[in-house]
């Protein structure tokens, strides 16, 4: 019994300690972010690797999610004779929720895991130590540009995801099923509010970008410098950031749409 309690205590304190380290690491990223903006090409390179290289998975997934929304939405709406409202349903679902959340989950799997593996392997092969010995701060040179690359990419990817999703909904709803095209677009334009829906969606995707990038760079930097350690860190990045995204989504939705 005592052993069980001791184990529990150890688990709790070690996790708290790690959370504290992660928070200090987060502050350090901001402190050493000057290089990322002074030498913008460092950050833009990471935008390319995190953002541009994730385009295919994000756009194809967005298209299919939109097509499924079109099918499911039509099936439900036509029972109540409101098939014309399909545009509203597809657009609001994507812009408010599915765009930011699904794009962030995909981003965590595609780019977050890659960032963790890269930084973890740099640590395992002493590249980060070598950088320190060359009087170059690895947080400024390696971590911060990858963090900001992720933060910048995420809202753009979420916007593309939503745009592709709306196009998918249009393909299924209007082109395939035959919902009236005018109603589809006009009802969408009349109902989707820029401030309430689009800006809130952008805020969400920005917050998710911070979460995924923070978790990814931290797990990589804190990885055990072994093959097993890097593999464990990569898995933790996907699991932790996915759970954090879903939890943060609930909190943000509750704050943003409480009047609805």
């Amino acid at each position: 019994m005592t052993k069980l309690l001791a184990n529990l205590g150890h688990q709790v304190t070690s996790r708290l300690w790690r959370l504290g380290f992660a928070s200090r690491f987060f502050l350090a990223i901001f402190l050493y972010s000057g290089t990322s903006f002074r030498r913008l090409q460092l950050t833009l390179r990471e935008v390319f690797f995190s953002g541009v290289m994730s385009l295919i998975i994000i756009m194809v997934s967005g298209l299919f999610v939109g097509m499924v929304l079109g099918l499911q939405g039509y099936d439900t709406l036509q029972r109540y004779g409101s098939a014309e409202a399909l545009g509203i349903l597809v657009a609001l679902s994507l812009v408010r929720e599915l765009g930011p959340v699904v794009a962030a989950l995909l981003f965590a799997s595609r780019a977050g895991s890659a960032i963790t593996a890269e930084i973890g392997l740099m640590k395992a092969t002493e590249q980060l130590s070598a950088m320190e010995m060359m009087a170059v701060n690895p947080i400024a040179r390696v971590v911060a540009p990858r963090f900001w690359g992720g933060v910048i990419s995420m809202p753009l990817l979420a916007a593309l995801f939503s745009a592709m999703g709306i196009f998918g909904g249009y393909l299924v709803g209007v082109v395939l099923i035959g919902v009236d095209e005018g109603s589809f677009w006009s009802q969408m334009q009349a109902t989707v509010d820029f401030r309430e829906d689009i800006v809130n969606g952008i805020i969400k995707s920005f917050v998710f970008g911070v979460i995924v990038s923070w978790v990814a760079v931290f797990e990589g930097y804190d990885a055990e410098p072994t093959a097993e350690g890097v593999s464990g860190a990569t898995t933790r990045t996907v699991v932790t950031s996915s759970l954090a995204i879903l939890a943060a989504d609930f909190v943000l939705t509750a704050l943003m749409f409480r009047g609805v």
Binding site: T125, S129, E132, M133, M134
Partner: protein, 268 residues
């Protein structure tokens, strides 16, 4: 010329948690000399190198580099000191996302405002010194172990350091590469007017190139001397190490309970 040794280590102790790694180390690296620190794996050699480079802080004692106590330096002063030192890591630690050229140019681009044309000429000069000017476009994954070590060497001398640190520079190299790296360490030291510290367990290659040797065992310096003195040493540890004998003061077995007791425990 300043006659004070470049590196002075006095009464240095270092522990990881409660595990003592180094105790009572006293050592000097004179200017212009190549000094080897030898000892079997896990005896604390690399830790000593990290203490000289300021990556670790001593539990007590001090490491002085160019008159400055390393662990008392502010982060800015430590980085300023590191700009004047070079380190060759055991497996090169080349940046795998950069070409050979960019690896060697890395420090020049980070720490200087030199125009790209001049950086090009300097990088080619450094690569020429290690015989790899023709490989400047290759990526690290395209290099053999020996070539990677030489590129890393070119990178570590890119800012003409006053102190070069080598962590196991001969590990895992074929005899030709090993000899090339050995000769380069000596030649570059003399050409740059630098001082070098070579952490290694490769006795024969080191004795050819170094001026002075310290032997470390279980975290303590157990012998020291010039290459000839070491070759002729009658100290049991040094003799066993230099001639690679299985029998001697360095035990073959990891400490454990007596074998008989272990077998009886299984029976009981």
């Amino acid at each position: 010329m300043n006659q004070e040794p470049l590196v002075q280590i006095r009464d240095l102790n270092f522990s990881y948690d409660s595990r003592k790694i180094l105790s009572g180390i006293n050592l000097t690296i004179p200017r212009g000399k190549v000094v080897a620190i030898m000892g079997s794996s896990g005896c604390g050699k690399t830790t000593l190198l990290r203490l000289i480079g300021g990556q670790l802080k001593p539990s007590s004692g001090e490491v002085k580099v160019n008159g400055q106590v390393v662990h008392e330096l502010s982060p800015e002063a430590l980085y300023a000191m590191r700009r004047r030192t070079g380190m060759l890591f055991q497996f090169g630690a080349l940046f795998t996302d950069m070409s050979v050229f960019d690896n060697v140019a890395f420090q020049m681009r980070e720490h200087t405002d030199l125009p790209e044309e001049l950086i090009h000429d300097l990088v080619m000069m450094k690569l020429h010194a290690v015989g790899l000017r023709g490989a400047h476009n290759l990526m690290p994954s395209e290099l053999s172990g020996g070539m990677a070590r030489r590129v890393a060497l070119a990178r570590s001398i890119s800012l003409d350091p006053m102190l070069m640190m080598y962590d196991e520079p001969f590990a895992g190299l074929d005899p030709i590469s090993l000899s090339i790296v050995g000769v380069l360490i000596r030649k570059l030291n003399d050409a740059l007017g630098a001082s070098s510290v070579v952490v290694t367990h490769d006795v024969q290659e080191s004795l050819k190139i170094v001026d002075y040797i310290y032997f470390v065992s279980a975290g303590k310096i157990v012998a020291e001397g010039t290459a000839d003195e070491i070759r002729q040493s009658k100290t049991p540890y040094v003799h066993q190490f230099v001639w690679g004998e299985a029998d001697g003061p360095v035990p073959f077995h990891y400490p454990s309970v007596p074998y008989g007791d272990e077998l009886m425990q299984a029976v009981n």
